[in-house]
């Protein structure tokens, strides 16, 4: 992988695992309060914290930069396993906490969607290993 490809790949990873989730949850959640969507007394709360996304997503990004900078397949394979471990941790948080609740005075709706992240986790890990030229 060339340096340019490595930079592109790292930027793409940081967008996927840090920027987009942080933005989505910042916009959705009233409890974070950056761009709350709550209207007419309806409160929208997400159990995902952007700080946790940053804390768990940063090791994924760092390990991916390492993965991209290695040329030898053996080193890349080790880095891929390390990154996979961080990816599992990262997605485990979503699988555990992936819920959103919408409530007003006399009703509340909670939707738990954590299971969907198992599929996305599998996709991310497979996608990572597919970049190694076996």
């Amino acid at each position: 992988m060339s340096n340019q490809d490595a930079i592109k790949s790292s930027i793409s990873q940081s967008i996927k695992f840090l920027i987009i989730p942080t933005l989505i949850y910042s916009i959705l959640s009233d409890n974070i309060g950056i761009f709350p969507l709550g209207l007419n007394g309806i409160v929208v709360k997400s159990s995902i914290e952007p700080l946790m996304i940053l804390l768990l997503g940063t090791p994924v990004l760092i390990s991916h930069i390492a993965f991209s900078s290695f040329d030898r397949n053996k080193s890349k394979l080790i880095a891929a396993f390390v990154e996979s471990a961080f990816l599992i941790l990262y997605f485990f948080y979503f699988i555990q906490q992936g819920s959103i609740s919408i409530s007003s005075n006399n009703f509340s709706l909670s939707i738990y969607y954590g299971e969907i992240f198992m599929l996305i986790m599998a996709l991310s890990i497979v996608s990572l290993f597919s970049k190694i030229d076996f």
Partner: protein
């Protein structure tokens, strides 16, 4: 085939599965949102309760209406309920509703034990029995959506105001007649109780004069309706003059047994 090729094929297969799944869930959720999710407050409405009394329980009845226009079913749906009176938990339970696609009506019947409903009232004094019973009903609809990938929990709170357990209680003026050795005194006692107390009860009374017990009268009593009974006492004739001159010292103590509770209704002069 090289491992890299297999992995790439797996990656694109997974990507297609996730995309198709997310798009289909999105479309289904959009249609579903026009039903149950659009007005969750009315979707599990707790207004319009009917009541039925049977075997010492009050059954709160209502129709649950759920409209799921999406093509994924609401799977393994359950309705949890909690009924509380102030800080007292009256009853709680879970009703299994199964899988729901399309429009769904189900008659719900929640049994509430009368003892649980009024038991704590009966340990208070009579004035507490004259207050309406204000219940709060917490309903929680739980379901899985789209192959259990989503869990939905929908909650609603309702209020039920039941009439006071004791609607009316009165001890009327006595009638009496005198025979050779006894004075027969009879007091009319009228008691009107709420429909949900419908049961046969026992009333126990003591007739006192100047703090001396002159007689006892026990009887059975129908609750849940307006009921009048006569409390009958035979008092020795020797008390005739003293009672006539000091009638304000005549008193009747009344206890009523409602289910397992003994309730002192007071001293009446």
């Amino acid at each position: 085939m090289k491992i890299a090729k297999v992995l790439k094929l797996t990656k694109y297969t997974l990507l297609i599965i996730i995309l198709i799944f997310l798009i289909s869930v999105g479309i289904s959720s959009f249609y579903a949102s026009q039903g149950i999710l659009a007005s969750p407050d009315s979707a599990i409405s707790v207004t319009g309760f009917n009541y039925e009394i049977s075997n010492g329980s009050l059954f709160l009845k209502f129709d649950l209406h759920i409209l799921n226009k999406g093509f994924y079913s609401l799977q393994n749906s359950r309705l949890q309920y909690f009924i509380v009176n102030g800080s007292s938990n009256i009853t709680s339970g879970k009703i299994y509703l199964g899988n729901i696609v399309g429009e769904f009506y189900i008659p719900i019947s929640i049994p509430v034990s009368i003892i649980n409903l009024v038991g704590h009232f009966l340990t208070y004094n009579i004035s507490q029995l004259e207050n309406p019973v204000n219940l709060r009903v917490y309903l929680k609809f739980l379901s899985y959506y789209a192959f259990n990938f989503f869990t939905i929990s929908l909650s609603s709170i309702g209020k039920i105001k039941l009439p006071p357990p004791l609607l009316y209680f009165n001890l009327g003026k006595p009638q009496y007649n005198i025979n050779n050795s006894y004075i027969n005194i009879e007091f009319p006692l009228t008691i009107d109780t709420a429909f949900y107390l419908k049961t046969t009860s026992i009333i126990k009374t003591i007739l006192q004069f100047n703090n001396t017990i002159l007689g006892y009268y026990n009887a059975t009593l129908e609750l849940g309706t307006n009921y009048t009974l006569w409390l009958k006492y035979n008092v020795p004739i020797s008390y005739e003059n003293s009672m006539a001159n000091n009638y304000n010292k005549i008193s009747i103590l009344v206890w009523i047994y409602i289910y397992d509770f003994k309730l002192y209704l007071g001293e009446f002069k």
